[in-house]
Structures are given as C-alpha cells and as structure tokens.
C-alpha cells in the first residue's frame, strides 16, 4: 500500500495494482483477437487435412524436420530470456535487462533466419505453390494446397516475429535511455505477453506442419 502511495499512477487509476491489471486486461483482449486471427488458418488447415490426410502426410515429410524442431527449442529459449527480462526489470538492473533483451532478440532473429533458410530450400525444390510448383508423386494438387497453408501460416507467424523483434529493439532503446524501472515496467510486461503468445502459435504449427506424417 505504501508503495502505491509513493508511486501513484496517473488518472484514472487509483494505484499501480489497478493500472497493472488494466494493462494486462487490454493486452489479453488484443491477444484474444490474435487467437482468432490465426484461428481462421487453423480451421482452414483442419478442413483440408480432414479431406486429404495422405497428401498432408506426404507434404509434411518433405519439410525439414530438424529446422522445425530446432526452431521450437530456439523460441522456447527466447521465451525464457524474455520472462527473465520481465523479472529483472523489477530489480532496477539496467544491465541485466539489456542482456536478457539482447538474448531474446538474437534468438528471435535466429528463428527467422532458419525459417527463411527453409523457404530457400522449398523454393529450390520448386515446392512453392503457384505456376512453378512441381511435385513428383501422388497427390500433387493436394500437396500444393498443403504448401500454400505452410507458407500462409508460417508467413503470418514470421511477420509476427518480425514485429516482435521491432518491439524488443524499442525496449532496448527505452532501457538505454533509462526509461525502464520497477515503477515503469509495463512496456516489458506487455511485449513479453505478445512474445510468449507468438511462441504458443508456433507450438501448434510445429506438430501440424512438421509432424503430420
């Protein structure tokens, strides 16, 4: 209580606790819309997989299992460093916040780099849906559909990752200017929620796209 009196929140909030709850509520509302944003693609995937499970198994087997698995580990690790950034900002340790954010950014960038490397491999094999799609074997039209969903889902996810990398760069700038502290930790907490959410989307993309054999 004394803490909130020492650091009153701006109107309309009566104290920091209420301010923090409002921040979380707003962010979760946004994340609920994001769940539906990806939800349409997940529903689309479910319908087409229901009708051609064999083709999806063939398409999935042509993706790089190791890239999907390593990238899942990379994202989970980046979530850990992001959670630590949110923890150490409450101790007013600018240097610790800086290192946690840099680690998160580098892991996120590694994820995107591996993703784009896989896009390159897929392109080289002419598995990009469209006029130049070429696939030897059965179910070629349905495999093309699988590859379309692969690009739509991972592409939307990668766009979210790039936005997250921008948000972390913004946090690094705030931290560098001394604008983050135990009293002003909301930017870190909100970006962390977003980052973990994007991680969760991938937790489902991994089994659906890479392990559908």
């Amino acid at each position: 209580m004394s803490n909130s009196l020492l650091h009153p929140s701006p109107p309309p909030y009566s104290d920091r606790e209420q301010h923090s709850v409002a921040n979380h509520l707003g962010m979760w509302t946004f994340l609920a819309t994001e769940i539906l944003f990806f939800g349409g693609l997940f529903a689309c995937y479910s319908v087409y997989r229901w009708f051609s499970p064999e083709a999806f198994a063939v398409g999935s087997a042509h993706l790089e299992f190791w890239i999907g698995t390593v990238n899942t580990g990379v994202l989970l690790t980046s979530s850990l460093s992001m959670a630590f950034a949110d923890l150490v900002v409450k101790t007013n340790s600018r240097r610790a916040v800086q290192w946690c954010l840099i680690a998160t950014w580098l892991l996120g960038a590694l994820f995107v780099a591996l993703k784009f490397y896989e896009y390159y491999l897929v392109t080289r094999e002419h598995h990009v849906p469209g006029a130049h799609f070429h696939f030897e074997g059965a179910y070629a039209p349905q495999v093309e559909l699988f590859m379309f969903l692969y690009f739509a889902m991972t592409g939307l996810h990668a766009a979210h990752m790039l936005f997250g990398l921008g948000a972390i760069a913004w946090l690094l700038r705030l931290n560098y200017r001394g604008r983050l502290s135990a009293e002003h930790d909301a930017p870190v907490a909100m970006v962390a929620l977003y980052w973990h959410y994007v991680d969760c989307v991938w937790l489902f993309l991994y089994p659906l796209l890479y392990l559908a054999r």
Binding site: W28, H196, P207
Partner: protein, 95 residues
C-alpha cells in the same frame, strides 16, 4: 499477499519442462503410434501452451477477470471450429 510474479526458479523449472515435452514430441513423431500420432503431438502442444500461459504469461498469478479474457479467445475459436465442421462434415448427407 500472494506472489504476483513467478520467481527465477519457477521460470527455469517451466523451461526445463517445456524442453522435455519438446523432446517427447520429437521422439513420439518417429514412434509407431499409427492414428494416435497426431492426437498425441497436439496433446503435448496443448500442455506446452498451458505451461507458457500459466507461468511465462503469468495467468497463474492473475485474478479471475484476466483469466476469463484469456479463455474468451479459445471460446470463440471453438465456435469457428464447430461451425466449420458442422458444414463440411454434413455436406454429403442426403436430404
């Protein structure tokens, strides 16, 4: 007052559990599970997501209202799923 934030120990334990589950998914995908392969991999993904939601996203430490908002997204997602499949699975039914 109860803790409002996970400790470093909780975060590390959560991360360890997530990595073990990742190993389990990767191994299970090569096991002869037949039709159970996809349900098992999705179940593990759901457990992983629950761990991320509860401890990294701190729902464990939040009050009811925020948990309801977090659940609302999944409620609407279930409507997308149910109505979509109500359509596609019944198209072959003769009148």
């Amino acid at each position: 007052m109860t803790a409002s934030h996970p400790t470093a120990k909780v975060l590390l334990a959560n991360y360890a559990a997530l990595m073990v589950l990742l190993g389990a998914t990767a191994l299970a995908s090569h096991a002869p599970l037949g039709v159970w392969r996809t349900p098992i991999s999705l179940l593990i993904a759901a457990v992983k997501m629950a761990l991320v939601f509860l401890f990294f996203m701190q729902l464990w430490y939040r009050r009811g209202l925020i948990r309801i908002f977090a659940a609302a997204g999944f409620f609407w997602l279930s409507i997308i799923g149910v109505l979509t499949f109500c359509d596609y699975l019944t198209r072959g039914w003769s009148p």
